[in-house]
Symmetry: C2
Subunit: 365 residues, 2 copies
């Protein structure tokens, strides 16, 4: 393999595929990135076997070929080279010669034959979505996926396409986040995507201008954004029937300023943190919500004006879970829906059905 390529072009491409490389892999070859020079392109690949990321860049291919280079070292070398043309040549012994300006590196590579092949997938269903929509869907739900592995299916988010509407749903047993968007696709899809995959996709689409094509097979999902393709295994198993959890009946509806609610709960949580459970109490009555919390070191009392419909209610929450939801809501005002102090609270942006956050209360003794 022999190529020459601009430093900044290569550096950016390495940054993308490195997201697929695990630093904790037990298989040494997986700490590398695969370089393939074909026609007038360099194709780079990083994978941890669950998730694979491939991108391609134009370059001057003097001799076609392939090589695997340690991801971390190769990335750092390229990033630290001057913004000039880099020549990369792999010899028969897999030694790689990298020349740029007055710098000459010789780095031991690994044979490309040892690198695992990404699965060849026949895309069964596929649709397009704008990168802004995809990013906001991920950002508004991913934090609600389960962090522990006791129920593996909950470490992913459910993507459900029905009647030209795409939903992304995450839940961890304490709260649920649901984002819906309209798309131009009429078939049904129902898959559970690992949170890590969604997180990497969200970062990658950030760096690219194109819309994203999403394709699914029985066991995989493929995100294509410009020259970059992210392939991920799907999680196996049955996701919870989330529709049963989100009830539409309520006895109390309150509309409150998002910013004031967030600031007050953040202040209250300073004391809640000192106690157990990050416990804060909300007392909603008439035109005010009073937020209180206490611990050995003191107590706090916050009051915010609200617009109330329905019954007064007193209810307690883990402040972290309720704050996560408030931060995911972008509108200036939030609607809170409550039924009793043992039923979930539902939060939505004002007059906007596209986002739903549901959080379980803490039962007080």
């Amino acid at each position: 393999m022999k190529i020459s390529i601009q430093q900044n072009t290569l550096s950016k491409a390495i940054g993308i595929v490195q997201r697929g490389v695990s630093s904790r892999s037990t298989l040494p070859i997986l700490s590398g990135v695969l370089l393939r020079a074909i026609n007038d392109e360099l194709i780079l690949t990083g994978t941890d076997l669950e998730l694979g990321i491939e991108t391609k860049v134009k370059c001057n291919v003097i001799e076609e070929g392939s090589i695997v280079l340690t991801s971390k070292l190769f990335g750092e070398v390229v990033r630290k080279l001057p913004p000039e043309e880099i020549s990369i040549e792999a010899d028969m012994e897999n030694n790689v010669h990298i020349n740029c300006g007055n710098s000459k590196f010789n780095i031991v590579g690994q044979p490309y034959e040892e690198y695992p092949q990404l699965p060849e997938l026949d895309e069964e269903k596929s649709f397009h979505i704008s990168k802004e929509l995809l990013r906001s869907m991920i950002k508004q739900t991913i934090f609600a996926t389960a962090q522990d592995e006791t129920r593996p299916i909950l470490t992913g988010a459910l993507m459900e396409i029905e009647k030209s509407e795409a939903s992304l749903i995450a839940l961890d047993g304490y709260r649920l986040a649901l984002k819906k968007v309209k798309i131009d696709y009429s078939e049904d899809i129902k898959v559970v995507i690992p949170a890590k995959t969604l997180s990497e996709v969200s970062k990658i689409v950030d760096e690219d201008e194109s819309d994203v094509k999403i394709s699914t097979t029985e066991n995989h999902i493929i995100f294509s954004a410009g020259p970059t393709v992210v392939t991920s295994r799907l999680l196996e198993g049955q996701f919870l029937n989330y529709r049963d959890i989100i009830r539409s009946e309520y006895k109390t509806k309150a509309v409150v300023s998002t910013k004031e609610l967030q600031s007050s709960i953040e202040r209250a949580s300073l004391l809640a943190r000192e106690g157990k459970n990050n416990l804060i109490k909300l007392d909603i009555s008439d035109d005010t919500v009073v937020i209180t919390s206490n611990s050995e070191i003191g107590d706090v009392y916050e009051s915010i004006p609200i617009k109330l419909e329905g019954d007064n209610i007193q209810i307690a929450f883990n402040s972290k879970y309720i704050l996560d939801g408030i931060k995911a809501i972008e509108s200036e005002e939030i609607e809170l829906y409550l039924t009793s102090n043992v039923n979930p609270c539902i939060m939505k942006p004002l007059n906007d059905e596209s986002y739903t956050y549901l959080v379980l209360p803490v039962r007080l003794a």
Copy 2:
């Protein structure tokens, strides 16, 4: 005690004195900040007994008095309050009531009588220095203080005033950094200041517009910057006679671009890091310095043009120590002075005697 004060004024003052509070103190009262309301001022104090920081702000004193509040919690509460007037009132039981807008906090305080008094010091000698000069003196030397406690005196920097010249010197057995500036003061001073003190002073003067007054007593040093006073114990013991280490004879003088030298050594150190000692080799001959390094995973060869006077030389260094010095030099070109491959290398900014960095070579087998 009862006061009212603007949120941003109080928040800034807490940020300053919190630098003096240790998070690892064994004495509970030291995790607090002392508040004293006197005349029309609030005086705040934080200390870990080695280092004490005091600052004062104007406020509306309704009732004079003093109280100690947990530094971390008090700081966070004030930072999260809206930018309005805050009322703070301590009652007879040391409970503190903090009110601002629609927020009411009650926090358990501690009696001010238990807070240690900062030493009352008679300033023996004192001089003024501009904050820019003081900051650059600290920044260019502090990194060369010893990190381990085997020779406690080397965890500080020597401040030496002689013939209207102030020098700050730090060394750790592997390298030495020396910065000299002219000041308007003719007496002699020789004290060793803990690195932590210098680091905090550097951050505090950053936030203030005033010049700094430095005063010394037998065992203490006092930095006064506007409304803020930093008092620190001095380190006891004899500092190394650094003048004996910095020789003026040399056999090789090379002038090289600071940026090129830094980039090349940074790249070389990517491979040096993989081996032992971060070892890089410099081969200075004629009009070029060649920098090489190698490890199991590969090798690197960098060449940079130089202006050479004197002998050719081959010498090896720990790349970290030489990089620290290059980064501390602000001029576009660096002068390197060398004698042999077992004698120290001295680095200076081009045509500038105010800064000296000395680094020991690594002897090759």
